[in-house]
Symmetry: C2
Amino acid sequence: MLYPRFKHFIEQKKMFSLGETLVVGASAGVDSMVLFDLLLKLSHVWKLKLVLVHVNYKLRGEHSDLDEMLVQEKANAASVPFFRFTHTEKSEGNFQEKARTFRRSKMEEVLDQQNAACIALAHHQNDQAETFLLRLLRGTGLKGLGGMKGSSLSKSGKKYIRPLLPFTREEIEAYAEEHKIAYRHDASNDDVSYKRNWIRHEVLQQLKQANPKIVNHLSHLSSQLREDEEALEYYVEAALQKVSISEDFGKCSLKREIYNSLPKAIRLRLSAAVFQKLFLESAILSADHREKIDHIALRKEGGKAQYFLPLNVLFTRDHEKIYFQKENVSE
Amino acid sequence: MLYPRFKHFIEQKKMFSLGETLVVGASAGVDSMVLFDLLLKLSHVWKLKLVLVHVNYKLRGEHSDLDEMLVQEKANAASVPFFRFTHTEKSEGNFQEKARTFRRSKMEEVLDQQNAACIALAHHQNDQAETFLLRLLRGTGLKGLGGMKGSSLSKSGKKYIRPLLPFTREEIEAYAEEHKIAYRHDASNDDVSYKRNWIRHEVLQQLKQANPKIVNHLSHLSSQLREDEEALEYYVEAALQKVSISEDFGKCSLKREIYNSLPKAIRLRLSAAVFQKLFLESAILSADHREKIDHIALRKEGGKAQYFLPLNVLFTRDHEKIYFQKENVSE
């Protein structure tokens, strides 16, 4: 029952075409082992060439090596090329984030080397729902609530696909059982001291009492919110075209009339975008700053007003114009 | 500490002006008793005239009458006019919804009769956060996740204000204790078989483990998502202007070029809006219908295609045009 829906989703999202090469990221867990199995079925019909990539983080001693062996066996049994990488850097900071960056860079290397069309990842609805709740807890706006897409391009222009996105973990596990697919259980997934596991095992279980279809629902909601955010970004981009930029003076100016005619959600995003565009990629204006700018720009009384922003940027409202300008700092 | 922030919020949102009359909805619970106390303080400075309104639903026997008595005592002590209404209709269906409609209609009657500027309600951050989670569980899009505003107009054009929106329930309870404000506890708020109470007493308590400021955060998020939805509606409205409507034929048509140039979130909302505008206020196109319409409109191949929608509406793509048309039903 999974396979026809899987195939339909790939066709509908035009993820790849007949005869192409796909890089499949495989951890040895049930998700990626099922993904590989389904792609293997499809590969016979669509004449695909599959390539398996595994990254060994050496975090769970012997278990890490057994994971790697299982993926290797799968690859051998299916006569599929297998690439393994070892990531042992014990650096400080966000390990998960660094592991992800490493894994992606290796998969992209293999993609280039194999002249592959895309990289297939095993994300599914529970990942979407869990990420949604994690971000909700952490404190985020619409942007952070938007989920992953079936098909997307990385910053480096590589194509990633997620053909398991229509399915829940339960469906994937049921498929594994029915088709006797070997996989390895990662014990660290049970440790509820990790926030994601806590969400999975406790929060989502609680919410299921009220809505048994909560995973499905949150997963769809997050896809839909991503489309909503993309629409808002489209209009911010259109509004940015009306900002005049004089790079010599590090100044961005805009007619108040134009700014004031925009809906509030666009106005607040626009000032953040102008600030970022002119001054620094990573410069982020706080919600308070954006609200204050908005207040000054909109208010009827008074001709001229100024407001200091971070990074020595001065926001000025001068009668019919508003502008952001980098102040010179004397050395 | 609450009072200055309360006053600042009212000023910032321009909720009302010096010398105006305000209708205050009061249940006898801590929220509305604190709201009344704070407005009373402000009324001395701002020369406001307050009017208290209480609705007795006779649901909890003697307790309902004691609630009413407390509000009446408060009104007498402050020399404020008091209006009470009894709602005893034991109708089927959603009681909460009907009670709310009744309460609002009575408050609006008093507003008219007293020539008041607005109706003050005691909603606070916990109400926002709980509503957000309730809607999240029920299954909703961006629109349903948007929170209440500090100040809004009802469909009948009456102004409602929510001056307690910047505060959490804990802050309101602490204020009541500090200022020895009498209020009555509604025991039905503890019954976790009501979904809202379950959210309040169980779900939110669990989420607080991960983020102690979760109420504050969800409340802000829901306000922000409301602004996001309002922006999208603004662009849908702008797109609707480009739809040509021939009422004689019950037909709405639009150039495909225009439709296809819009971001997806706007396209899906636009077809829902066109359908609703032309056929029925309450007609709702499902997500599946909207996706299908979108697919037909966007696809490159093929000149003409048709798709049946509910209410005997036929969607047609005819080369460079798309249209919705009500089919005649033979009698």
